[in-house]
């Protein structure tokens, strides 16, 4: 699905990440951990082509990111569901419209898929907030809405950046449960988090690999997790 081979990312002459090797197999569940500022978000951005590697290769669904056109990047992103730490909604659109946005930009008829949309809102527990504007939602609701938007296109891969960063423990577990359910449906999941308790909880439910960024390199986390 997503493969990094000796990939590196530099900015302003300094290495942010170096010698990254990673292969996300279909249906796998990965956690990415590391201290704040270690480069977790940067690595995720390499995985959904918001950044391009300054060295090495990144292949998404078999395609080298350096060889993709802008249109190919756009269509490839439709196969990747992204949950940002700050969610990023269009504040002037309702929650339903925000969640349906990937359908709209892909030229699919959101009206025709309203049944799925309602089901999805119910799945993330936001049926009552369907017509609310994003600024009217709480942190947890925004995170769940972001997850709903990420999965509306039934993507092959879901990448989440600190999805539980702004919510309480209970809401974090609820979000994790949703991600675990998606993984059980065959989706490939990559989650960046510094919440070790969340990782431990997930490992008790599914088989997940835990990766850690240390000294700008990616490594498999030890038995302490």
């Amino acid at each position: 699905m997503i493969e990094l081979a000796s990939a590196a990312y530099s900015y302003g002459g300094g290495d942010i990440l170096t010698d990254l090797n990673l292969r996300l197999a279909p249906g796998s569940f990965h956690f990415l951990t590391g201290p704040s500022g270690s480069g977790k978000t940067t690595l995720l951005r390499l995985c959904y082509m918001q950044l391009l590697p300054s060295a090495g290769n990144v292949r998404i669904f078999g395609n080298n990111v350096h060889e993709m056109t802008r249109d190919e990047v756009a269509t490839t992103r439709r196969r990747i569901g992204i949950v940002h730490q700050d969610c990023q909604f269009l504040d002037h659109l309702s929650l339903t419209d925000n969640i349906a946005l990937p359908l709209d930009v892909a030229g699919r008829d959101a009206e025709a898929e309203m049944g799925n949309l309602k089901e999805l809102l119910s799945w993330v527990g936001l049926s009552a907030q369907a017509n609310a504007l994003p600024p009217q939602l709480s942190g947890g609701e925004r995170q769940r809405a972001a997850l709903a938007r990420a999965v509306i296109m039934s993507p092959d891969v879901i990448i989440a950046d600190e999805p539980t960063g702004n919510v309480d423990w209970e809401m974090g577990l609820r979000l994790l449960k949703l991600l675990v359910e998606l993984n059980k449906m065959g989706k490939t999941i990559l989650i960046a988090t510094h919440d070790l308790n969340l990782i431990r909880n997930a490992k008790s439910q599914i088989s997940a690999r835990v990766l850690r960024i240390h000294n700008r390199r990616l490594q498999l986390a030890g038995a302490d997790l």
Binding site: Q50, D71, A74, R77, R78, I82, H92, L93, L101, V105
Partner: protein, 301 residues
């Protein structure tokens, strides 16, 4: 070509989904409408100026081209004979419609601005003038000059070329300046709309970023901005054009003598030309916004 037709189809039919993803903007909308309106207003008057100077140049050219003067400078005793000889030559020359000797009163009137009303024309050695009216085709000038020099050595044929040329040149320059003004107006409109589009794109950087991340192609994002700015420019230019046309209609009507300023208007099918200005403004806005949008999007991943 296919892509362009598709863009036009979407532009005309509209795409509600693409339109609503960009929040309604305040000042860029008003700026675009005002700029397009003001520029269209100026363009109508430049167009009127270009057409009026074109008509003026044509009229001066046609009127002066159909008249000429023969000037006879001869000793007193030979003036009458040479005048008669010149008239005979002119009467038998193809391309000459009529020729007549100006009377003393007419000559005095011509000289009055310089010498006053009491000039004794009959006592002064003033050349005799013969007014010549040519047919549409006109005479063979060189042949006529040769015949005149043979029949009346003191006669000089003046076809007004040295007067006509600067006048026509001046009118042509004015027409060129007016056309240049229209081009400048179009470029300024493009520049202003580009600035407004860039401001709108910068103000909606987050929206664009979100759209890119959920898989929107550049054409989808650009379309929302392009359609909005094209429609605004078209509407603004329509209002500006109508206001300017009203101004032109309210101008005093042209006098028969063709006074230049009162002749600043449209005639006949020329009235169609200003009606094209809103469409041109729309086209300028379409390409300016499209270029600005794609330039901005290219800088984003």
């Amino acid at each position: 070509m296919k892509a362009l037709l598709e863009m036009l189809r979407v532009l005309l039919s509209g795409d509600q989904k693409a339109d609503r993803v960009v929040p309604p903007s305040g000042f860029t909308a008003r700026l675009t409408v005002f700029t397009a309106g003001a520029m269209a207003f100026l363009a109508v008057f430049s167009l009127a100026l270009a057409l009026a100077t074109g008509r003026l140049a044509d009229r001066w050219s046609a009127e002066l081209a159909r008249t000429a003067t023969v000037r006879i400078s001869a000793p007193d005793g030979q003036m009458q004979a040479q005048s008669q000889a010149v008239l005979r030559v002119l009467e038998t020359t193809p391309g000459i419609k009529s020729a007549r000797v100006l009377t003393d009163a007419e000559q005095r009137k011509l000289l009055e601005p310089w010498f006053g009303p009491d000039l004794p024309v009959d006592t002064l050695p003033i050349p005799r003038l013969i007014e010549v009216v040519e047919t549409q085709d006109g005479p063979d000038i060189e042949g006529l000059r040769l015949r005149l020099s043979a029949e009346a050595p003191g006669a000089i044929f003046d076809d007004h070329t040295r007067w006509r040329r600067p006048l026509i040149d001046a009118a042509s320059r004015l027409r060129l300046l007016a056309a240049f003004s229209i081009a400048l107006i179009a470029l300024s409109t493009g520049a202003m709309i580009t600035l407004a589009a860039n401001a709108a794109l910068a103000a909606n950087a987050t929206v664009i970023s979100v759209l890119r991340l959920v898989g929107a192609r550049d054409t989808y994002i650009a379309r929302a901005f392009v359609r909005r700015f094209t429609i605004r420019a078209f509407l603004g230019a329509t209002v500006g054009t109508l206001a300017a046309l009203l101004g032109v209609i309210l101008l005093p009507s042209a006098a028969e003598e063709g006074a230049f300023l009162t002749g600043l208007g449209f005639r006949g099918w020329h009235w169609i030309l200003p009606l094209l200005i809103p469409f041109l403004a729309g086209i300028v806005a379409f390409w300016s916004t499209r270029a600005a949008a794609f330039r901005t999007l290219k800088g984003l991943t």
